[in-house]
Symmetry: C2
Subunit: 466 residues, 2 copies
């Protein structure tokens, strides 16, 4: 019996897709930047089937590419060009196994979309804070495999911090039964957090028990005009000092990015009466119904009197809040209307964000006169999406041909500040070669040793990360 027939015997014939038109939605990601070929797409329905599929692939030495919502930005979920790998789609594992509002936990399967998981928590009057642009289609399995970040890391940490335990299948089909609601368990190595963020190279996550939080009763969102990133840092520290626990998001936006959005997104409008070089989008939340907005207004007034903040607008309605967030959420998307854009997903210590932005911008523009840096993102946790739009009127292809050259400039500044070349998107295919250049060699050796010990045949997501 050939491999496809044996796979079909495990998951059923309808759950093994091999026709090119059936699998094209899996072999490339939506932007078309990463693609490959695959022997088949295999869609198991439960952890037992995942286990049997992996045991078979391990026996036959077949590479396995785990895939959830196929929204990853670094190619981690796409196969290579050999046509010999299978894509293991986890989408059919889509049960919400349990929501426990008293223990503040939720156990969901890998194929549940992030939005569905958020809603399941909300249905029990609880809050699951992981939130990112693709939440409607990305899945919990992918979120955990890539240790997803998003806008609430400043308050709740990354996906890794929000997870209590995972169920995962190892390369040879063994099942790690690591689901747990325990907040404290000191019985050995932290295998859960080892698998989270390993990009499918150590095991296939099939379910996870996630932390839930009390649902905020009050929320206030404001949009502030600032002169410099240094002023944003000052504002951030004022907020942390006086409203620490309430700070949910602190996003930095440059004027040029806001301009892009206002130019290309019809529904967008400037919340402030005048233009500022920089903006902060700040969201606060509280379990109390009262006092939050007043406290935030007082803080903004003080910051304004001290010259930290130029102008501040508060969202007076949910619609206005959505308007503020639309400026942030569409900032990446609209860049395509301004020609080529060279992207970076980097982080530095929070203290170093202003200097990093200044230096990287200066060096990029010195190399490519007219290039337009659009550094924006999660300043509260030091993660800046340092994107660079082409000079106005320049040739797009010629500009994009300098991708690696611009990367080198920006990543050299990142290295100077001991930052990370992949803050939240992961390594995947995109940064695998780069990783070898910038990562501590001993850390790489440890990673390879661990990989070999858990996946000796190297069948799990080959060619990704390591």
């Amino acid at each position: 019996m050939d491999l496809l027939a044996r796979l079909a015997a495990i998951v059923g014939e309808k759950s093994v897709l091999a026709e090119p038109d059936e699998i094209s939605a899996y072999t490339q990601e939506p932007r078309g930047l990463f693609f490959g070929r695959a022997l088949a797409v295999v869609k198991p329905s439960n952890v037992a089937e995942v286990s049997r599929v992996l045991a078979l692939c391990n026996e036959s030495g077949t590479g396995v590419v785990p895939q959830g919502g196929n929204t990853g930005l670094v190619g981690g979920q796409t196969p290579d060009s050999s046509g010999g790998q299978i894509i293991l789609s986890l989408r059919k594992l889509d049960h919400i196994r349990e929501v426990d509002p008293v223990s503040d936990t939720m156990t969901v399967e890998a194929g549940v979309t992030l939005a569905r998981a958020q809603n399941a928590a909300e249905d029990k009057d609880r809050y699951f804070p992981l939130s990112l642009a693709s939440e409607g289609s990305c899945t919990i399995g992918g979120n955990l495999a890539t240790n997803a970040g998003g806008v609430h890391v400043v308050a709740y940490g990354s996906a890794r911090d929000m997870t209590l335990g995972v169920e995962a299948v190892l390369a040879d089909g063994r099942i790690l039964s690591g689901l747990t609601k325990l907040r404290k368990d000191n019985t050995g190595y932290d295998l859960t957090r080892l698998i989270i963020g390993s990009e499918g190279t150590l095991g296939v996550i099939t379910a996870a028990t996630l932390k839930l939080f009390a649902r905020p009763r009050a929320r206030t969102t404001f949009f502030l005009g600032l002169e410099t990133p240094a002023a944003a840092l000052e504002l951030l520290n004022l907020l942390k000092a006086s409203m620490g626990g309430a700070l949910q998001a602190f996003e930095l936006l440059p004027r040029i990015g806001v301009d892009f959005v206002l130019r290309h997104l019809k529904s967008a409008r400037d919340p402030l009466s005048q233009a500022f070089p920089w903006y902060a989008l700040v969201e606060l939340a509280s379990q109390h119904d009262d006092g939050l907005t007043e406290a935030a207004l007082q803080l903004a007034a003080r910051a304004s009197a001290d010259g930290v903040v130029g102008e501040a607008a508060f969202a007076a309605s949910l619609a206005q809040r959505a308007d503020f967030w639309r400026l942030r959420e569409s900032m990446s998307e609209v860049q395509k209307h301004e020609g080529g854009s060279i992207k970076h997903d980097v982080s530095v210590a929070v203290k170093d964000v202003p200097e990093f932005i200044e230096e990287a911008s200066r060096l990029v523009v010195a190399r490519i006169p007219g290039a337009r840096p659009v550094p924006f993102g999660h300043m509260g946790d030091g993660n800046i999406h340092f994107n660079v739009s082409q000079p106005v009127g320049a040739d797009k292809s010629a500009f994009l041909a300098r991708w690696r050259e611009v990367n080198d400039i920006v990543h050299a500044v990142v290295a100077k500040f001991e930052g990370s070349i992949s803050a939240e998107h992961g390594v995947g295919k995109l940064k695998r070669d780069l990783l070898i250049e910038v990562k501590d060699p001993v850390a790489l050796e440890m990673m390879r040793a661990i990989k070999s010990s858990l996946d000796p045949k190297g069948i799990l997501n080959p060619g990704k990360l390591l």
Copy 2:
């Protein structure tokens, strides 16, 4: 040249102790429950010396027992009885390398005591929330190696959650340079959290970069009388729902434990006007100066009107706050005055705490009539120190001889609730054999595979954990 001379050549003669009277304070822990013999105590002064010592021990196949403040409760820091192991004391690595109040990070060496680290943060108007009874003498290295818990896990998680990166030396002397101030870094496996909690079996932590938090401006502490653990759970959920971010500690105390303290600790007094079967010690904190105590008082009044709380006392002064905490902090200590005490450090899902306490108490008393369960501890995170005092007037040795029998009863109930047999103290020597019985076999296999891949000769803390 023999091993001791070669060790002396690395760290200096004065930093190799071999005389029995010099090393007795290292070969046993203060309670005298765990002890062993050692070839020598080696006290390196910096990471380079640690590296050279380990390279030498790896070459010679010498077992290395890392030790910090020697306060561990499960024997993880004591050598075996062979006399062939060395104790690697990290106490001389005691520099606070940096406190960065803007990035909210602090980099300290392994030998810094927890109290010193807390103070270093406070000196820069920041807060490091890890807090436990032995904080005056335990060290950061030991805290991380054992993933220490303590009273603030409900708000901040365990030591693992408070750490951004570690510097550690592997078995063969290689140095993992993992110190980082980054809040987001998705460039590979989470080696930091793998080493944290590995009890010195994967690497020797020499320094760590820790998360800091805004220092609370207001704090309020209250002591509440309750009828049942179920009422405590209800109170906990009221607090989480209405004051989520402010909750810093939620400790459960049984009347018998309070009685023990009142009986044996002269300075202790009952904060309430009448006796209750159970108590909660609750601490709230906030970045605001105002409103916290009022909000807590209102909540207590509502909980009282609803019959959840019997009586509540608020700490009106720092002295009163210290009084409340003394009842909790001395609860373990005073048990020795009541004869033999059989200890457990277990956790279950928060929801299951009341049922667990009821069932474990009932079964223990059924087996040993007159035995006095004293279940107390960190109810906010599900971690109960389920200690059992001997029947009044019984023979102490005869009671203590039933240690394993009582363990089996309690741990069976823990297993029923899918809990942990070691919530915060770790495994060490004490629970190594037990671990094999209760841990997921695949998890154990993974742990062994990782251990072999990183320490093939098995020189790091042999006989502990695995």
